[in-house]
Symmetry: C2
Subunit: 424 residues, 2 copies
């Protein structure tokens, strides 16, 4: 990695603390990712991206800012990346996946908050995430109580704009969300000085749609038995989608898919055909939260899908064809976002249907329901998911955890017992 | 208490379990309430109400049902009682305040759920609350993730209707809430067969407004030093407001206020004038959750106000004068409900203003911020409340707890230390 210290200093990072964070990553990454058997060659790009995690991409953002562009931070799939791109700004998913930043957060936030929220907030107050430092402002949303209220406190440290996501799927809820998109458009135009025209938005949506299409292609390649890519690698790709350059990322994923489809044609996989195939469903996993996938795949299973915001909820569905006017495009984007089957909605039975569809279509032997501790919405939905799967005879294991390593042994034991049952 | 066993059996209560629950209450109530010094005579009515907690009032509801009326359960101040009354139905706040029903809930709900939610759900699945059993359906709302998702599961055990409360205070949010009120009106009309006319609604709102006015009068009497009523008794009155007959309750509270105002005029109080005056702010307290008030007043403080849904958020503000049409009345009700400064909103700085106003107007020596464990919204707002009070030199103690008795000793110690500081 090149020397980025002056850039990090300019961004106001706590350099000493940041050194500790960054120092731990290569060994961890090597142990988890590079030791995997028969990895696709196309993963080399993603290895490079992680190697440069706080370097090259941040440099690109800084260059963009130097030439007058804006950078906008976000945490959630409900924030439309295309609207941000249409304003000539770059959307970046913010750091939120490590225990490292949790103690900084706990000096302010309630401890009974999910690790993802604490980690993201801690990155800001501890000044250890170059992405939030580089962002001109952050766009939050109201998809859960924890984030909704965290954004109020985050606003005391960093410019923060919050958009509302409705809670029931009603015509007025759609109207409200559409109005929030219009408000966000105005905010972006004000911050960037760029007018979001129908042409600009169509172009941006096409870029994001191409990215999503590439990710869906990868997702479909995982239907094969044996599966051509590990769950760890597939998860990593989706995680990187949140902050990489959209065009380059799409190219690299497409190249990876060419390779994976070749493997599928040849019947070549990363795990034995008999390896238990697991669907992970639930809360999102931000870089470097690889804990559950690692345990599952270390134990001989292979993860074939993520019904998650770092999975299917990120790349499905597509924006529908529309009349191409600004109003028509915004409505199509709103409809697309509201088809995200997030546990923030009540009821949200479409998510149950998604899990059942994935369980069948991806030839799944068992589902692991993953809830971040203190995430009320997903923890409650686990009850319904388990019931629906039981009717189909698909076993479910509920895992509720945080970012610490303390419960790794316990989770391993539970996973081993689960896989033992699944194998029979 | 008369023999209500056949009524309880008819309601499908688990009689054995219910006996244990009801058996514990009199001794507990006597120890906490009847041992207080110099209680207002007007509290005798409320003692009677608690003595008949699952008896006489439930009998009234059953008589109402026998004559063709409906009973509607609710949990939250956002559900408009007047709309329910206007349909000839009786609104009742449901049981939700005891550890007794928590284990039943934990067989289904995530353990990391607040005690209020677990208690209410446990009362249904354990069949120990005659109010929910008597209710024709329950009206839930989306004011927090925990309740929002609990209602989905509750719907598997009892008819449940959920209305959305917006999260940002925007014109579209108001429109959405108004539409939810219209939907609720239609639902009530469908369930009761009664058409809610402008006349019926005006009459019902007048009843509820008179109740709120009486509670505001009581609240204002607590400004006096010495204070004419204990915090325990005042809290009890608001708790009873949720399920008692609206007309009788209003009369009894008004009579109590006559007495309290006489006390104030004579400079007579329930505690020495020098007793530390405490405002309790935060999560609601349902019957029989008297834990914090009891500890505070046992320790020599007196609670002079509750900035809470079982306090000011229940009885302020008033419904504004309007044109008297159905549409005008509904809009005024929506505006009133949306002026409830609940932590479900983002931002919700009006609540901070309320706390500051109460701290000054009620001559408060310290504020105890009460969060039910795992209640993200209030736990987060505590950070802002504490900061705002610190600027005014008002000390704050944060208490986060559940319904168990296990932490009583620890809370006592913290309260004692806090009062020691407040007294200086």
């Amino acid at each position: 990695m090149a020397d980025y210290r002056s850039m990090w200093a300019e961004l106001g990072l706590d350099l000493e603390k940041h050194d500790i964070l960054l120092g731990a990553l290569p060994g961890m990454y090597e142990g988890i990712f590079l030791t995997q058997d028969n990895r696709p060659e196309g993963m080399a790009y993603f290895d490079f991206v992680i190697g440069e995690i706080h370097g090259l991409r941040v440099k690109e953002l800084m260059d963009h800012k130097a030439s007058g562009g804006k950078v906008v931070g976000l945490f959630c799939v409900f924030v439309p990346e295309d609207l941000i791109l249409a304003a000539g700004a770059i959307p970046v998913g913010l750091c939120a996946g490590t225990q490292f930043s949790v103690p900084d957060a706990e000096e302010v936030l309630p401890r009974n908050t999910c690790a993802l929220i604490k980690s993201s907030f801690g990155f800001k107050v501890g000044r250890t995430c170059p992405y939030v430092q580089a962002s001109d402002f952050v766009i939050g949303e109201t998809t859960c109580d924890g984030k909704k209220k965290m954004y109020e406190l985050l606003g005391q440290y960093h410019p923060t704009y919050v958009m509302e996501v409705p809670q029931k799927k009603t015509p007025l809820g759609r109207e409200l969300f559409l109005e929030e998109l219009r408000g966000l458009k105005a905010k972006l135009e004000e911050e960037t000085g760029v007018t979001i025209t129908a042409e600009r938005l169509a172009e941006a949506t096409a870029l994001v749609e191409a990215k999503r299409a590439a990710l869906r292609r990868l997702h479909n390649a995982r239907r094969a038995r044996p599966v051509p890519i590990s769950g760890l690698d597939a998860l990593l790709v989706t995680q990187v989608a949140f902050y990489d350059d959209v065009v380059r990322f799409t190219e690299k994923v497409s190249a990876l898919c060419d390779e994976l489809e070749g493997r599928v044609a040849r019947g070549e996989g990363v795990a034995p055909a008999a390896a238990p195939r697991i669907l992970v469903s639930g809360s999102p996993m931000a870089v470097p939260n690889w804990k559950l996938h690692r345990i599952l795949e270390d134990s001989g299973a292979v993860v074939v899908g993520e019904e998650s915001c770092t999975g299917t909820r990120y790349f499905t569905p597509a924006v529908a064809k529309n009349d191409g006017t600004l109003a028509g495009q915004l409505a199509a984007i709103a409809d697309r976002q509201l088809e995200t089957h997030c546990a923030c909605f009540t009821p949200n039975d479409e998510r149950i249907d998604d899990v059942l569809t994935l369980a069948e279509g991806w030839d799944v032997d068992g589902v692991v329901h993953y809830s971040l501790q203190f995430c009320h919405t997903f923890a409650n939905e686990a009850v319904k998911v388990e019931k629906a799967l039981a009717i189909r005879g698909v076993p479910l294991l509920r895992i509720e955890t945080d970012y610490s390593d303390e419960d790794m042994g316990q989770i391993r034991n539970r996973v081993d017992a689960f896989l033992e049952m699944v194998r029979r």
